[in-house]
């Protein structure tokens, strides 16, 4: 794989920016630029101030809290959505990234996005961090929370039908073993996130998914492509499929699993050993945000305890509020599951950090696994 080869810099290579800068001088580009600036776009940057532009996951804020915010501060946030962190990164790294105030990257991508200079450094004095769950602060993906404040968090686990799977799942090895047996084979859901496919295969071998050794990552390929034929889908998690029995075992986060269990109480949820994933979706301010003041105002609002409780109930993911578990309304069903269930050992969980050197190898294996699953 070219990604594993050391990337030698050939002196004859011209930098991309120089050449494309020259391309920008071509008449066509000049013409287009002229056309475009005479259009309505001239006012684009002026239009942005006085409002709040949020780029986030779909349905990631409760409507009621947004409406309450709008009422209190006189600004209705404009919300755009992305499907994955990769898209967030691609957009922020381009012309289309201009004008966002708040973005919500996951722990896995914060380092990569901030390394590219795409996030503002946060002024932590403006927040009451004591209110927050201290174990979610100062984590390895963003030491001292220079660029991010935790919004909510989730786990990678497995939700399954013990009858169909033929017993209890305790480890990722159990997951792979059960999947290969006739009860579950062909009725498994895995995620399309490469690290969540490759990660468990690494953990089974006692390896770290943040390893820099590309050979280790590649070492999972044969195992995973062989296992692939047992997988029914890599698409979005559908709680209903676990009710109907189309799927009997699925990789999922705790909120998705909770929805499935609410539909079908005989399902079980586990965060398998020896380790699994803890992800933290976080608030960040985009570099060059048009209205930094308003961004802080919105973040402070979002971090107030009542709002965090509301958001938790709405999303099914726990917000970052300290002592949140005791503050949830008593009518929330299966509230324990929101926090990952009673048996989770948080010290054993790890967070994935995207490394440009190894990440393409993860993707490569994911492609091969999905290809093998369909053959």
């Amino acid at each position: 794989m070219s990604t594993s080869a050391p990337r030698s810099v050939d002196s004859s290579l011209i930098s991309r920016r120089t050449v494309l800068g020259a391309a920008a001088l071509t008449p066509i580009a000049a013409f287009l630029a002229a056309c475009s600036s005479t259009g309505s776009s001239g006012t684009a940057s002026a239009k942005l101030t006085g409002q709040l532009n949020i780029y986030t996951w779909p349905d990631y804020f409760s409507d009621k809290d947004l409406a309450a915010y709008a009422k209190k501060y006189g600004v209705t946030p404009k919300i755009s959505t992305y499907t994955d962190n990769n898209t967030l990164f691609t957009k922020l790294n381009s012309a289309a990234g201009a004008g966002y105030d708040i973005v919500v990257p996951s722990s896995s991508w914060i380092k990569q996005i901030s390394d590219k200079g795409l996030l503002e450094e946060l002024d932590l004095d403006r927040f009451n961090l004591k209110n927050l769950d201290q174990s979610l602060l100062n984590r390895n993906y963003d030491p001292h929370n220079k660029y991010s404040i935790p919004k909510d968090w989730g786990l990678l686990g497995v939700v399954y039908d013990p009858d169909a799977v033929g017993g209890e799942i305790k480890t990722w090895q159990d997951f792979f073993d059960a999947g290969a047996k006739s009860g579950a084979s062909g009725r498994i859901r895995m995620t399309s996130a490469a690290e969540e496919t490759v990660g468990p295969a690494l953990w089974v071998q006692g390896k770290d998914w943040n390893t820099k050794k590309i050979a280790d990552i590649q070492g999972t390929e044969d195992f995973l492509t062989t296992f692939a034929k047992h997988v029914k889908t890599f698409s979005a998690f559908d709680p209903n499929a676990l009710k109907s029995g189309a799927i009997v075992m699925a990789q999922a986060n705790q909120a998705a699993a909770r929805n499935a269990i609410l539909l079908n109480p005989k399902l079980k949820w586990v965060v398998p050993g020896p380790t699994s994933e803890l992800w933290v979706d976080s608030f960040s301010i985009a570099k060059g945000a048009p209205d930094v003041e308003r961004a802080y105002e919105f973040l402070k609002y979002q971090l107030t305890p009542t709002v965090q409780v509301n958001e938790t109930v709405y999303l099914g993911y726990p917000a970052s509020l300290n002592g949140l578990r005791d503050k949830l309304p008593s009518n929330v069903k299966e509230s324990d599951l929101i926090f990952g269930g009673p048996d989770v050992d948080f010290d054993k969980l790890t967070s994935f950090i995207v490394n440009p050197d190894t990440y393409p190898t993860f993707q490569d294996i994911q492609n091969k696994v999905q290809a093998a699953a369909g053959a």
Partner: protein, 280 residues
């Protein structure tokens, strides 16, 4: 007829597409010879991306996607032809209503239609319930997240396009030609194969192109109905750009795809001779 305006007409689409399509595509060509960083490209001249893109995984992916596109497109044409024929043979209000019935579903959001197929085809979903109720089916349907589901969804999405492309041409076959054939004693079957079918060739070629080629690039339907399995080409390319942030390799794959499809389309055009009006 050498007047002003001779080339103005051709210049309008050319200019528009040059800026919005050819120049960006030129970027792709240039990038394909470069070396990729993470979300950046170092320009240069290297064939590494092409060597990688021609590896077994992507070659297999290309062939699989090609097979899918050609198969689904043929199926689409076979299903669409009788409809287009039936519509074209009628006139007046009846025809308008028939056309409207075919086109109406097309006005609903594509994503919603595909999402609805997801619901329809689900195990324990509405289709299963209906089939069970009328006694056709006795076991759960497990079609969702498989290739047949992808094909059903694809046909549902592309069928109206095929019908329109065919009907637009069938509609123009003068009734006198058909009558003349029958007056000369040809059976309806013979009339169809010797008169109508040959005259509809431009429609067939257009319908084939408008379905097969976009199917090669289909991204959403395999993900939503096929369980995201059996990697399709567009997905493989998309992964390089968005997931792996490897613009150079993604670009090389695009260049190869464009070349391969260009060859296939050229062959198709020759074989069907459906574009005589333009090829000459």
């Amino acid at each position: 007829m050498r007047r002003t305006g001779d080339h103005v007409l051709a210049a309008i689409p050319l200019a528009w597409l040059a800026v919005l399509f050819l120049v960006p595509l030129g970027f792709t060509l240039v990038y394909s010879f470069g070396t990729s960083g993470f979300g950046t490209v170092q320009l240069g001249f290297s064939l590494d991306n092409y060597i990688q893109a021609l590896g077994p995984l992507y070659l297999e992916t290309f062939l699989r996607t090609l097979g899918f596109a050609v198969g689904s497109s043929l199926l689409c044409l076979v299903l669409a032809y009788p409809i287009a024929y039936a519509i074209a043979r009628r006139s007046g209000r009846f025809k308008v209503v028939a056309f409207a019935l075919i086109l109406l579903p097309y006005l609903a959001s594509l994503l919603i239609r595909v999402m609805s197929w997801q619901i329809l085809l689900a195990q324990g979903g509405p289709l299963e319930k209906i089939l069970r109720a009328i006694g056709v089916l006795h076991s759960p349907i497990t079609i969702l997240d498989s290739l047949p589901a992808v094909i059903i969804g694809t046909i549902a999405v592309y069928l109206p396009i095929a019908i329109i492309a065919l009907a637009v041409v069938l509609d123009r076959i003068p009734p006198e030609v058909v009558e003349a054939s029958q007056d000369l004693g040809a059976s309806p079957t013979a009339t169809f194969w010797t008169v109508i079918f040959p005259l509809s060739r431009p429609g067939i070629a257009t319908a084939a192109l408008l379905t097969a080629v976009p199917m090669l690039g289909e991204l959403v339907i395999p993900v939503l109905l096929g369980g995201n399995k059996g990697l399709f080409l567009s997905q493989a390319i998309s992964t390089q750009y968005v997931q792996s942030q490897n613009y150079a390799l993604g670009s090389a794959m695009v260049v190869l795809l464009v070349l391969a499809v260009a060859v296939i389309v050229a062959l198709l055009v020759r074989l069907t001779r459906g574009f005589e009006g333009t090829a000459g």
